[in-house]
């Protein structure tokens, strides 16, 4: 059992690193310009010139999925940051203050959790014009509750611990107690939540963009590529493979990473 657990950490970390490197490379190099259209080369099967074939405008699919990873990482990172910040505020306030503040904030998080993720995202994106920013904001908001819960329970658990009491006795202020004393002890569970939220963010962004309500052109997105690919499924079945596989691998990588970190922590305690 023990070997397998470190195995998911290693596997997850390697998937994520490979994807990250691909994303970095795409910033400076793609085999073809990702937006270059070539009507004579439209819907070509994979070849030496176009490793993953071309799309309905004759654009190189490999170059486009490479650039698409930038969007996936951007959406993941920004929405996790929003979720973490919001969750930190709500979680520490609830855990630290207790009483009615805690009750109120936790009921609000329960209510947010009662919305299935995609439904809340759809509600939020229906308010204004779809865009990259709006997608990240919507996904960020819906990841606040899980961070808030983890951080609140961590704060509750450590608030009354002897070492925190001792620090308070020595005259430590609230900021010191939260950031210096408590935060390091809940870091690993927060990192796990961050990894799992990242994969949820990638999945929801892909779904929203597939529906045409997420990232808009010219920003590249795997989800939107899948939408385009579906219209040419019979003619160009390879078109759907690369973006779909990349979403799957990204989600898989971050899920394994999150699980691996949690198992590591469980083993230590």
């Amino acid at each position: 059992m023990k070997r397998m657990k470190s195995y998911s950490l290693v596997l997850g970390a390697s998937f994520v690193s490979v994807l990250f490197v691909v994303m970095l490379i795409s910033l400076v190099y793609t085999p073809h310009p990702p937006n270059e259209m070539n009507i004579r080369e439209r819907l070509q099967a994979p070849s030496v010139r176009h490793w993953l074939g071309t799309d309905n405008f004759g654009r190189d699919i490999l170059s486009r999925v490479m650039v698409g990873s930038q969007t996936a990482f951007e959406v993941g990172a920004v929405s996790v940051a929003i979720g973490l910040l919001g969750g930190f505020l709500v979680g520490t306030l609830a855990g630290y203050m207790g009483k009615w503040v805690d009750e109120l904030l936790m009921r609000a998080t329960d209510a947010l959790l009662a919305f299935p993720g995609i439904l809340l995202a759809l509600l939020l994106v229906s308010i204004s014009k779809p865009s990259l920013f709006q997608t990240m904001l919507a996904i960020g908001i819906l990841s606040i509750p899980s961070f808030a819960r983890v951080i609140r329970s961590g704060v509750l658990q450590h608030k009354e611990a002897d070492y925190v009491k001792a620090a308070r006795g020595l005259g430590a202020g609230h900021a010191n107690l939260i950031f210096v004393q408590i935060a390091p002890n809940i870091a690993s569970s927060v990192v796990t939540t961050a990894a799992l939220s990242f994969s949820t963010a990638v999945l929801i962004e892909a779904a929203l963009s597939y529906l045409g309500l997420g990232v808009q052109p010219p920003d590249p997105s795997w989800g939107r590529m899948l939408n385009e690919a579906q219209s040419y499924l019979a003619k160009a079945p390879w078109f759907t493979l690369a973006p779909g596989l990349l979403i799957t691998l990204t989600v898989l990588g971050f899920n394994l990473l999150g699980d691996g970190i949690r198992d590591l922590r469980d083993k230590k305690s």
């Binding site: 998911s8 329960d110 995609i118 439904l119 229906s126 308010i127 204004s128 979403i247 898989l252």
Partner: protein
């Protein structure tokens, strides 16, 4: 406070919060909602008319009070696009979505539980690894892409299923089931992965308990130990998980309907968002959220009722 009273209070608060959120979402739109819907070329008279219809010309508190009363009576006004009561429109689309969700629930149970039992019989490093990789993959594949791949494999290549045509139940029940097979399979994949994972863990946990040793030492056949004792106890947490995930299934069907062009509430919601048909969007979101909340509530209570250990506490 009594557990049930507390749970009921939470339920009410959650419902209130959902209503507040859906109300607020369309009142924080920058600018006048009527103007956003009609566009900048609308005349003042048109805007005034729509404002009256939406009720946005009245004070906020009054609007919210009206919204609460209307929502509890499931009256969400009239759709701006279809000029029909929102409740009507939703009711017309509901059968497709409900049958899709129920069919994938049936698939989840029919495939997930046997697979979970098989997975729990296989122990050791290699089996652990195989189950982990399989279930993780099932969870990672976006179900809408799974749907596209199923269309590619069974619709276009093998031609077992007609693609993108839905036959209503009233016309031909057999064809209706057939047109829901691929979409419900796509929806069920991540749910099956969850069931396999939970059932396996839960069965392995039960197998380590004393009563299993007792049952074996009194000479019970291994199959009787497994199916009469272990499985019965191991299924409880799995049932809860399936229940809780029914909400996810419902939400997943919103996207899957679009992949298979099924005329359910998912495609209605996407159209409504595209048309800026705010009353319809509000009605749909509230209704779906209420359903999910109600299901979770029932699952929570039945779990306590099913497990005497929790019931007596």
């Amino acid at each position: 406070m009594n557990y049930y009273a507390r749970r009921l209070l939470t339920l009410l608060l959650t419902v209130l919060f959902v209503l507040l959120l859906t109300f607020a979402a369309f009142r924080i739109i920058p600018g006048n909602p009527a103007l956003v819907i009609l566009g900048t070329e609308a005349t003042d008279a048109q805007i005034a008319l729509l404002e009256e219809k939406l009720g946005t010309d009245r004070p906020l508190a009054e609007q919210f009070a009206d919204w609460l009363v209307a929502a509890f009576r499931l009256d969400f006004g009239e759709s701006l696009r279809f000029s029909e009561p929102v409740t009507h429109l939703i009711a017309g689309r509901l059968p497709v979505t409900v049958s899709l969700a129920v069919m994938s629930l049936v698939l989840t149970i029919a495939v997930g539980i046997p697979l979970g039992i098989i997975a729990s019989r296989a122990r050791g490093k290699a089996a652990d690894m195989l189950v982990t990789i399989g279930t993780q993959l099932g969870l990672a594949v976006p179900s809408f892409w799974m749907g596209i791949m199923l269309i590619l494999a069974f619709g276009l290549t093998l031609k077992w299923f007609a693609v993108s045509t839905f036959t209503p139940w009233s016309e031909n029940p057999l064809l209706a089931v057939k047109s829901l097979v691929l979409p419900s399979a796509a929806l069920a994949v991540p749910q099956i992965a969850i069931v396999v994972r939970y059932l396996r863990t839960s069965m392995l946990e039960q197998l380590g308990l004393d009563y299993v040793r007792t049952a074996r030492s009194k000479g019970l056949r291994e199959s009787a130990v497994l199916y009469k004792h272990v499985l019965k106890n191991a299924l409880l947490p799995v049932i809860t998980i399936i229940g809780i995930n029914f909400g996810e299934l419902l939400a997943g069907s919103l996207v899957i309907e679009q992949v298979f062009t099924l005329p359910g509430i998912g495609s209605l919601l996407i159209t409504a968002i595209g048309n800026r048909d705010y009353p319809l969007v509000q009605g749909l979101v509230v209704l779906i959220a209420f359903t999910v909340i109600a299901i979770n509530f029932v699952v929570d209570l039945s779990y306590r009722w099913l497990d005497p250990k929790i019931r007596l506490q």
